[in-house]
Structures are given as C-alpha cells and as structure tokens.
Amino acid sequence: MNEEQTWVLQAQRGDDEAFTRLVETYQTPVFNLCYRMLGEPELAEDAAQETFLRAYQHLHRYDLKRPFATWLLSIAAHYCIDRLRRRKFSMFSMDAEDDEGNSIELPDVDAPNPEKESIKGQMQERIQGMLKDLDTTDRAAIIMRYWYDYSEKEIAESLNLTVSAVKSRLHRARKELAGMWQEEEEDDLLAEMERRHHESPAF
C-alpha cells in the first residue's frame, strides 16, 4: 500500500489531516482541470473547492482499486460540466479577465526567454479561448487527454462514456480546434495587413 492509499484509508476513517494532505497533493491538477473547463480563475477556485468537498463527503464510496486521481478528476469534470450546462443560456466570458476586463497573465514560474514565453503565453491564451467553444464533454475529454495524458479508457471511465465514444469525441474536438485555430490565424493575418496598410507613409 502506497502513501496515498494510506492517506485515503485514514481519511475514510475520519482523519481530516490525512484528507488535507490529499488536497495539498491534488490541488493543482484539480484546479487546472476546473480552470481549463470554466476559463475563469475565480470560478475554477470555487469549483476545485467544491470538488474536494464532494470527494470528502463521498469518500466512503471510493474504491481503493481505482486510482484516486482519476476518481477526483472525474468528480471535478462532472461538476464543471453540470455547472456549464446550468449556465448554458447565460452570457459569460471565458477569458481570464480581472474586474476591469483586462486579461490576467497566468503566473509563469521560470521564464528564461521573455519573448519566447510571451509567444507561448499567447498560444496558451488562444487554446484557452478555443476550448470554450467546444461541447462541455468534448472539452473535458480534450483536457484529460492533453493535460493529464489519460488514455481513452481512463477518459471513458471518468466521464461515463464508452471508449469508442471517447475516440470519436476526441477526433471531432481536435478537428474543431484545428478549424478554430485556422480562423484565428486568418483573422490575425488580416489584422496585421490592415495595421500595415494604416501605418503606410502614403496615409
């Protein structure tokens, strides 16, 4: 039995300290999943907290044979999907913005090359912006696949889908993302051309 399983067992017996250790271990993956799903740091924080709360309340149902991370991320994904479905008809921004509507730069711990990191940051922002246009379950599947390296089987187990459904969802989502990526690149190109046109000495 590894350390994590020991913590889970202790937490199942009512040891809150052991559960806090699990929270400390999994706070980043859970928060990241929620952020990628919901797109706003405040919503992600709330969703991540709620995920751990639900995990705590239903810990007696957790099967020790299953990886704890998969179980936890499954709770987070379902919670975010439900939350997005409830908010489906209300308008909200998925971009990371502060109260004034300015973009929040996500913390970058080790950025040796500022220019390169800036381009990387733009790419990340673009990906985040495109994720919001995907179907919620497709989004969860993509996040589990590319941020957590989950196999199709693990995604299927986490999202209560069949493996073939996961395959087709991933395929469709990747195609949609590529389409959006292409549109964004074309928009960028048009904007750049327009900018150069206005900067021309003839004007």
Partner: protein, 176 residues
Amino acid sequence: MNHQPFETWLLDDKVLTPTEKRDLDAHLRTCKTCSIIAETGLTLRSARSVTPTPGFALRFQQRLAAQKVAERRRRLWGLIVLTMSAAGLIGLFVFPYIAAFVSAPVEWLTTLLGYFLFVFTSIQAIGEVAGVFARMLPNFLPPYAWMVILSGLAGLGLLWTVSIWRFARRPQGVTA
C-alpha cells in the same frame, strides 16, 4: 497518398512507424490543413498546468469547517421543527380525549380497563391457536420445507439488518 489518412493519423494521435512519419513530414510541407492540425496538437501538448493561489488547502479547511457547522445547524433546526410538529399533532389529537377524561373520569377508566382486558384475552387466544398449529404442522411439513421457511426468515432478518445499517450510517461530511 491522398490527404485523408494523414488527417486521421493526426486527429487520432496515431503512433506512427518511421516510414509513416517520413510520409507525414513530407505531406505536412504541402498541406496547410494538416499542418494546422499538427500545430494545434503541439500547442495542446505543450499546455501548462495552472496552479491555484497559495493557501488553497487552508481555504478548503475553512470551507469544510463552515460546511460542518451549517450541516449541524440544519440538523438541529430539522430536529426542532420535527419535534414541535409532532408535539403539535399529538396535542391536536389527544386534546379532545383529555378534555373528555377530565369531564367524566369513571367512564373513561371503565372503557380503558375493558380495552386492556380485550387485548389480554386476544393475545391469549392467538397463543393457543399458535400452539395448536405448532403441534400439528411438524406432521404435515417435511424437514426440507422447514429449512426453506427458516432460510427465508433468516434472509428477511438479514435484509432488515442491512437496511437499518444503511439508514443509520451517516455520510462522512456531516460527522462532528
């Protein structure tokens, strides 16, 4: 080779053989659609994890504590409302009887005595009937029928015990 298999390989993240990889690289130099799919895939793979602000676990502990307090408060209020409702209902039904008892106590005591006498004699009669059956049944029922009946009764007992245990078990988040 036409475009389609390359697109499918990229979209499905297929593990490629060296020959397939070489063919794909050659195709990517000429196909914009596939190069965009490949670029999207690379960006997804290089995506970073976002971390929560410091003190996440502490904020969770505070939220958990608040949740426990709220749950206890909800239970207490539930208990108070239930008790008051039950007391009110009992009072509503019992009040006419109490009023009648207070107005004519002798008549009430006679009725109550008659009722207890009826219950006592009924129990006695049921006991006698059960005794007669118990003496007669072993002659009619073979041993395996007894085994079936006893197993059935044991099963029902087990079901009852499990049900009580499941209802009595409290979820972890609501313990004090």
